[in-house]
Symmetry: C2
């Protein structure tokens, strides 16, 4: 067993948090298996409806009484720009045609619904007495923070720079995930611009640890005991691992997504905003490469995300990796297909060496 | 004293190599001080003439009999494209005017001279019996490798990806520096393209260490004992530190360059090719920001480097940080102004903790 102030706070036996990957990866089976094995399981609720989240929380509780958490996407205001959408659609239609979904109606999300859904998700977290809630793409308001404190919810922010980490500490959050440029999936920058927020984890951990007093959780490219030990030595109190859990047997990721990751090589990932309108790291495929030159003209998140949704869905059901969003971090080549128990035991054994 | 197969090979007492920064930073005083204190001093000979290199080598030898090394830039063929040069000059003239150097004649380098100079530098390394030679921007030819082996020169390559590291091992080099995306100064990618070569050190070290048998040296954002310990834990046998030595009292870096670094914050660095035509990381300033939109149209290295040379020189002599190339890694905010002895003692004390 491994103890420090953060593992005590989170009530976990090893300094590992399973990254709250959105989009169906964090099934109740995955989250519960992580928590049962002494790490912290996290539900990626970013794209969920309140009912879906409630069901998933209850599903996890049926499998374990250990601590687990929920991650929410903090919404920002966005604009629906008809021109942009039309142009994006004109490029996306070739893929829709290829996938046989050309006629499908696409409704962009409304700002109001997006904010409303976020508020409802917060209420689910509180009503279901989820002990831990983390946030990506922004921070809760002061009023929301008050609510979380009142209901003893431990809160964790996500930062890509020192200034974001300092803001998270100032708001009264309990810990901060620092996301290095190596990380798979969406970039979490919310004050800094995209480029400023691309700091290698090895540089980010010590500089944030020197500037905040709350515990630092390191995220981005950590796949094994070497990465855990290195992160702890740099000043982190725990690590958050995404890709390593994504390929676990219990994860809900598409089997093809897992396959592509375990056969990937270093340099196979890239940053793209073609899938969602927000920068994210994934394995390069036809869609990313072909859309690259239009990247700057695409609608912003979550509008572009809604436009590509049916493409990603059809690609997944037709087993076509060319059009799926194959999120993965820069250490993807170290991934294995194994059970959560095997993964956690292996990396903790390595960490102790 | 710290020992492994690499420190034994290099005959050093601690697993630290001073990065071979070009452009006047690696004075004989700096290189010798590093070697005297048990680390490996390196001469950055990239822009030197054979005579300058010979003098510097002899200068170091006057100060120490310990091991030290020389780094060479491996040239690639490049084209002189008159249109590109004209366009670049038309943008650069405003800065030349501001600095009072508008009339100065600028001669772009010739491919022939560049290759010839590189060959002469190799001969200096061999004739002066320099024990260690490292390479950036490429690898020596098989014939050159044969020469180095004949003369017992230990050779070290620089890689930004696994495939570059594997090529370096196959060529028979003795060790490989892996340069993470965090690193200050020029990117060393030579097979991979710029973007593919931007891998965070925490992801790069273990993946390269798993794929080559020669010792791995970690470079990029390592500033203190935390970084050294983390790099060793990830699979490196030593670290190469640039920014940390740049601000040392013995370094030949411009005092303003040192000042800017020690007062910098995380996120102050960016990647730019406006100074030299090759991507490099430095502290953002007016020149980088204003030239950013023309970045894709500028001549390639070393042509653009020759065009901005007088601007950088005049800026340095007029103490104008706006137009200087302020190379620095992503951990620049951790830099201090101290002696080499203080730096090495401090980081090794931290490493042992």
């Amino acid at each position: 067993m491994f103890t420090n102030n953060l593992t005590s706070l989170l009530k976990i036996d090893c300094p590992i948090i399973q990254a709250p990957m959105a989009g169906g990866i964090t099934t109740s089976k995955l989250v519960a298996a992580v928590s049962v094995n002494g790490a912290l399981g996290m539900i990626g609720a970013g794209y969920m409806s309140p009912i879906q989240l409630q069901e998933l929380i209850r599903g996890v509780r049926e499998l374990t009484s250990n601590n687990f958490g929920v991650n929410l996407f903090v919404p920002s205001k966005f604009e629906i720009i008809e021109n942009e959408i039309e142009m994006a659609n004109s490029m996306l239609n070739q893929y829709r045609e290829e996938l046989g979904i050309i006629g499908e109606r696409i409704t962009p999300p409304s700002v109001e619904d997006t904010f409303h859904s976020y508020e409802e998700l917060i209420q689910v977290v509180i009503e279901e007495k989820v002990p831990i809630c983390s946030f990506t793409f922004g921070v809760p308001s002061k009023e929301e923070m008050k609510q979380f404190k009142q209901h003893n919810v431990t809160t964790i922010g996500t930062a890509t720079t020192i200034e974001e980490a300092i803001l998270i500490e100032k708001l009264g959050m309990d810990a901060v995930v620092v996301q290095g440029s190596e990380a798979g999936g969406h970039r979490g920058n919310f004050i800094s611009n995209h480029e400023e927020g691309l700091i290698g984890l090895m540089s980010l951990i010590p500089q944030v640890a020197d500037n905040v007093n709350i515990p630092v959780i390191a995220a981005g490219g950590i796949m094994d005991g070497r990465g855990i030990r290195a992160a702890l030595r740099l000043g982190a109190k725990a690590v958050q691992m995404g890709t390593a859990f994504l390929t676990c047997e219990e994860s809900g990721a598409h089997p093809l997504h897992k396959e592509v990751i375990i056969h990937s090589k270093v340099g196979d990932t890239t940053l793209t905003r073609t899938f969602s309108g927000k920068w994210a790291r994934g394995i390069k495929n036809k869609f990313i490469l072909e859309m690259e030159e239009y990247e700057d003209m695409l609608p912003s998140f979550p509008v572009q995300n809604s436009l590509t949704q049916s493409i990603r869905k059809a690609a997944a059901s037709q087993n076509l990796k060319d059009y799926m969003s194959l999120w993965a971090g820069q250490c993807a080549s170290l991934a294995r297909i194994e059970t959560v128990e095997e993964l956690i035991q292996r990396v903790m054994d390595e960490e102790m060496k």
